[in-house]
């Protein structure tokens, strides 16, 4: 088990966003968190990342407790994070955006390198010296994901990677997730059931800050009743 989240409770001021979330990921798995708006999907990822530290409960990464650590230490421990806003650093070129994130790991043997990424993903490579702000939304998302790889994560957290992107881009993001899932563990959140179940092996459903359902994707795909109950917008 690479990630073990045990009964975490997170508050925004006095209001409780997570009412005891428990979830586990095995190394190499791609898992999705589903749920309606405000169910606590983003907060779960933020709590793992230390941005909204849980008030109680534990987050164990690779056998070590990480709850209570500042975000940069959690990143160093090996968790890559792409926030919902997915913004890049405007004013820095595509290459510099990657360089900033690669700085910490300078010198050590790396699976993902700046040049490797720019070679592999033409969309970024062609624009290496362009200001990040000139990229389209989808390209910025690719860059944000690529940037998170620069810390050589053993676990990647993607918060709503598809939000606001055109269908053709969504497909590319899906391909990227499939590609990365061959080599790393991924936990992502999404509102689209189809996308999530296509690319994740397993899914958790959150409602009102709690895990209400957990199932392999194949099973959940056929379970229309659960989908209707927890996920349909109507």
């Amino acid at each position: 088990m690479i990630l073990d989240v045990r009964n975490i409770q997170t508050f925004y001021g006095e209001s409780q966003a997570l009412q005891g979330v428990t979830l586990q990921l095995d190394e190499g798995e791609t898992v999705c968190i589903l749920g309606r708006n405000g169910a606590g999907k983003s907060t779960t990822l933020k709590s793992i990342m230390g941005l909204t530290p849980p008030r109680s409960g534990e987050v164990i990464f690779d056998g070590k407790p990480i709850h209570g650590l500042p975000a940069h230490k959690i990143a160093r421990a090996g968790i890559g994070y792409v926030p919902e806003d997915r913004r890049i650093f405007p004013g820095l070129t595509v290459r510099e955006n990657l360089d900033v994130a690669a700085y910490q790991r300078k010198g050590s043997a790396a699976r993902w390198t700046v040049d490797g990424i720019l070679d592999k993903y033409e969309m970024l490579g062609e624009r290496a010296d362009q200001d990040g702000a000139t990229l389209s939304g989808g390209q910025q998302q690719m860059l944000a994901v690529a940037r998170s790889l620069m810390i050589q994560p053993r676990l990647l957290l993607l918060d709503e990677p598809n939000e606001g992107l055109a269908p053709v881009i969504v497909q590319q993001i899906g391909e990227l997730i499939d590609d990365l899932s061959k080599t790393t563990t991924i936990l992502f959140t999404d509102q689209s059931v189809q996308f999530a179940l296509k690319h994740a092996r397993r899914a958790y459903i959150l409602e009102k800050g709690q895990v209400v359902h957990e199932a392999p994707s194949d099973e959940l795909r056929r379970d229309q009743a659960t989908q209707d109950r927890f996920l349909s917008v109507a």
Partner: protein, 315 residues
């Protein structure tokens, strides 16, 4: 092409600056000396403001400590000038480390207020610790001896002193520029854009902010060390919070997004001050109007606006 022309322009300006003592009167030499020193002060400030996004209202503390350090060493130890400047840099670096350690953990307005408070504390110490600082009169009556490095320079001669200031400010500016262009400078720019995202890359934002703060303080201390012999006094005014406002104004006036912006700001600031005060006492009123116009209409500062305008014309 564009950079070539700009580099050419810069070379002409530097050549002109070197030639000034042979073509201009002492009056202009004094003005230019002040512009260069305050320009370095403002450029050091812009490392934390324009690059890192931290608005400090206590930058005069480092400028002032630098001037007192040089004055004290000249009075009590009579060391060569270069050694005085190194002491100034060391003293302000140390002070910046202490103030920065306590301040960089806070953001925006809290950071601004804390640096302002520390700046006022340093002012109060200089004002009241009479046995060392001579209180409100400040430290005067020191004379410059040798320069150091075995160079035979008559530092008391304003033209010679101007050349020394020009050389030191130029070297300091190049060092600052290289820092801004390095990976470290790139991370500072990223921190200004979004500190949280920088922490996702495993970088400790607080450490980077502190290092930037200390570097900025050190160069402000160097500027302070240069100003004391120029003014022939190190007085509490150099530490006053209104002195902390000057680099803020200069950086905004010239353009915070450009490395040379603060130098342009310093030139405009000093020239306008000299020119307007020859007509009227209310120089601050005029400055206020100009600044308000800059912030409302020309956000990129004089240098930024000029560069934009030039790009437009070329099209």
């Amino acid at each position: 092409m564009k950079t070539k022309i700009l580099m050419g322009l810069l070379a002409v300006v530097i050549a002109g600056l070197i030639a000034v003592p042979w073509i201009a009167s002492y009056f202009y030499i004094f003005i230019l000396t002040e512009i260069l020193i305050l320009g370095l002060f403002a450029a050091s400030f812009n490392l934390i403001f324009g690059y890192t996004g931290m608005l400090s209202f206590g930058h005069a503390a480092f400028f002032g400590i630098g001037s007192y350090a040089t004055a004290l060493v000249l009075i009590h130890l009579e060391w060569p000038f270069l050694a005085c400047l190194l002491v100034s840099m060391g003293a302000s670096a140390l002070l910046a480390l202490v103030i920065g350690f306590l301040s960089v953990r806070l953001n925006e307005v809290y950071f601004a207020m804390l640096t302002l408070a520390f700046g006022m504390m340093v002012f109060a110490i200089a004002y009241q610790w009479r046995s060392v600082t001579n209180g409100s009169d400040g430290l005067a009556g020191f004379t410059l001896g040798s320069f150091g490095l075995g160079l035979d320079l008559t530092l008391g001669n304003p033209a010679v002193y101007y050349h020394v200031v020009l050389a030191i400010v130029a070297i300091a500016a190049v060092v600052l520029y290289l820092i801004c262009r390095s990976s470290f400078g790139m991370i500072l720019k990223a921190i200004r854009q979004n500190p949280e995202r920088v922490s996702f890359a495993g970088l400790n934002v607080r450490t980077y902010r502190l290092v930037a703060f200390v570097i900025a303080g050190t160069f402000a201390g160097l500027a302070g060390g240069l100003i004391a012999p120029f003014l022939r006094v190190a007085s509490p005014e150099l530490l006053h919070w209104s002195m902390s406002a000057e680099p803020v104004l200069m950086a905004i006036l010239g353009g915070t997004g450009y490395f040379l912006g603060p130098f342009v700001g310093s030139a405009v600031f000093v020239l306008l001050e000299t020119w307007i005060t020859s007509y009227t006492e209310s120089w601050m009123l005029v400055l206020g109007i100009i600044l308000a116009m800059m912030v409302i209409f020309f956000r990129k500062g004089l240098l930024g606006t000029a560069l934009d305008w030039w790009t437009e014309v070329k099209k």
